[in-house]
């Protein structure tokens, strides 16, 4: 896809830009027949199949496959759920588990050969996930404390001199209703977007250098090498972003469940 766009750009190196993320539908005019959408469904299929198979014969003494699936599950369940949320964590484990695996697999698509597109670099998907988290943690808070008490807790932090509320209350409201969902989605999106762009720059750049004069040809391998190094770096970022998104969701839920801030 990228190669096509490069070829179409003609002579001279056109650095990759936001346009490289707008992949055309492979069925003309069908908005749903695009690579990101296909990848999202592929991720759902892969995750479902992997975990259904690995948990199918869940036994006291796990098989290797069960151990692999169980390790991921117990990481989300214990380190993100139980540690952060506390005794009510079990209700949220399925959501956190889905969130973590969904983001992780879609991120890693960015470096999987032949796929090589991080789905989360399409802002729509982080928006959807952040919206889920947004509604869940507010719903949990309202269910737990009642609407007015919950709003009061957000707007009026205890232990602050009264005049300070003029400043603090709008900030707190903005934090809970704007900043949190925006940062959640933008952090994930921007990391994946920038990471993919970086890889495109070095790998397409290396490719372009290879077509240049002899001196540029010699520089080309370094560009590829950096591209490969960045691929490993990207893998780390992809895992980290899945972890951060899930961790923050757990923290927001824990905050909404807590009686006091």
């Amino acid at each position: 896809m990228v190669f096509v766009s490069y070829a179409a750009k003609g002579e001279g190196f056109n650095p990759p830009d936001a346009g490289d993320f707008n992949l055309p539908p492979f069925i003309e005019g069908n908005e749903f027949a695009t690579k990101p959408i296909l990848l999202v469904f592929l991720s759902v299929l892969l995750i479902s199949v992997f975990f259904i198979i690995s948990s199918r014969k869940a036994a006291v003494v796990p098989s290797k496959l069960q151990f692999a699936g169980e390790s991921i599950y117990s990481f989300v369940r214990n380190d993100l759920g139980r540690e952060v949320i506390g005794h009510e964590f079990m209700r949220f484990v399925p959501y956190l588990f889905t969130l973590f695996t969904f983001i992780l697999v879609n991120n890693i698509f960015g470096i999987v050969p032949l796929i090589q597109f991080p789905t989360m670099s399409r802002i729509s998907f982080p928006y959807v996930l952040a919206a889920f988290t947004f509604f869940i943690f507010h719903y949990v808070g309202i269910r737990k404390q009642g609407f007015f008490k919950y709003m009061k807790e957000i707007m009026f932090l205890p232990g602050i001199p009264k005049p300070a509320y003029i400043l603090i209350t709008p900030l707190e409201l903005a934090t809970y209703f704007l900043v949190r969902p925006m940062t959640l989605s933008l952090r994930l999106f921007a990391n994946m977007f920038a990471g993919h762009l970086l890889l495109l720059v070095f790998i397409l750049g290396g490719e372009h250098l290879l077509q240049g004069v002899i001196g540029l040809k010699l520089v080309s391998p370094f560009s590829f090498l950096i591209g490969i190094a960045l691929t490993f770096f990207e893998f780390m970022v992809q895992c980290l972003q899945a972890y951060i998104f899930t961790l923050l969701t757990a923290l927001y839920i824990a905050g909404a469940l807590a009686d006091e801030h």
Partner: protein, 176 residues
């Protein structure tokens, strides 16, 4: 920018979401959530619960066995103490009984001895009486015989001596 791309992605601002992607994201994520919640989480939880159960059950079994062993030990100890106490009382009783038996036997023996002594004394007395009686008879006969001899034969020192004997004997008789 080539013409295909411009046609495909009209808005180049990457922060503007696509309706189709929003819908797909929502559906796909919900679908995954349902699958994982229904089919995966309960199974892993079941395995975890079984594992916890196996470990805890094993520990509980070990604790129970230890408690039982301790109870048995205590029981044996108390039984041993009981047995010791019992042996002590039995020994005590035996000692008392033994002493009583010895006492009884001693009394019996003394009684027997007394009885034997008494019967022996009686026998001796009877025999002495008999001896005295026969002696008296014999002495009478002897005396009669001696008197006849004294009358018939001459007297000498020996005769005198015999006379003294006789007198003694008769004195003895008298004193009796």
């Amino acid at each position: 920018m080539n013409s295909i791309e411009l046609a495909a992605g009209e808005e180049l601002n990457p922060l503007i979401p696509h309706t189709a992607e929003i819908i797909v994201g929502f559906i796909a994520f919900s679908l995954l959530y349902m699958v994982l919640r229904r089919a995966v989480v309960p199974r892993f939880e079941k395995a975890f619960a079984e594992r916890t159960d196996a470990i805890q059950g094993g520990m509980e079994r070990a604790e129970r066995a230890q408690r039982e062993a301790e109870a048995a030990l205590n029981q044996y100890k108390s039984q041993l103490a009981d047995a010791r106490g019992e042996a002590q009382t039995i020994r005590e009783e035996a000692r008392v009984q033994g002493a009583a038996i010895i006492e009884e036997m001693r009394a019996k023996a003394q009684e027997e001895a007394a009885r034997i002594t008494a019967s022996a004394q009686a026998a001796i007395e009877a025999e002495r009486q008999q001896a005295v009686n026969s002696l008296r008879n014999e002495v009478g006969a002897l005396a009669t015989e001696l008197a006849s001899k004294i009358v018939g034969e001459a007297l000498d020192d020996q005769v005198r001596q015999s006379r003294i004997v006789d007198r003694f004997l008769s004195d003895l008789e008298k004193s009796k």
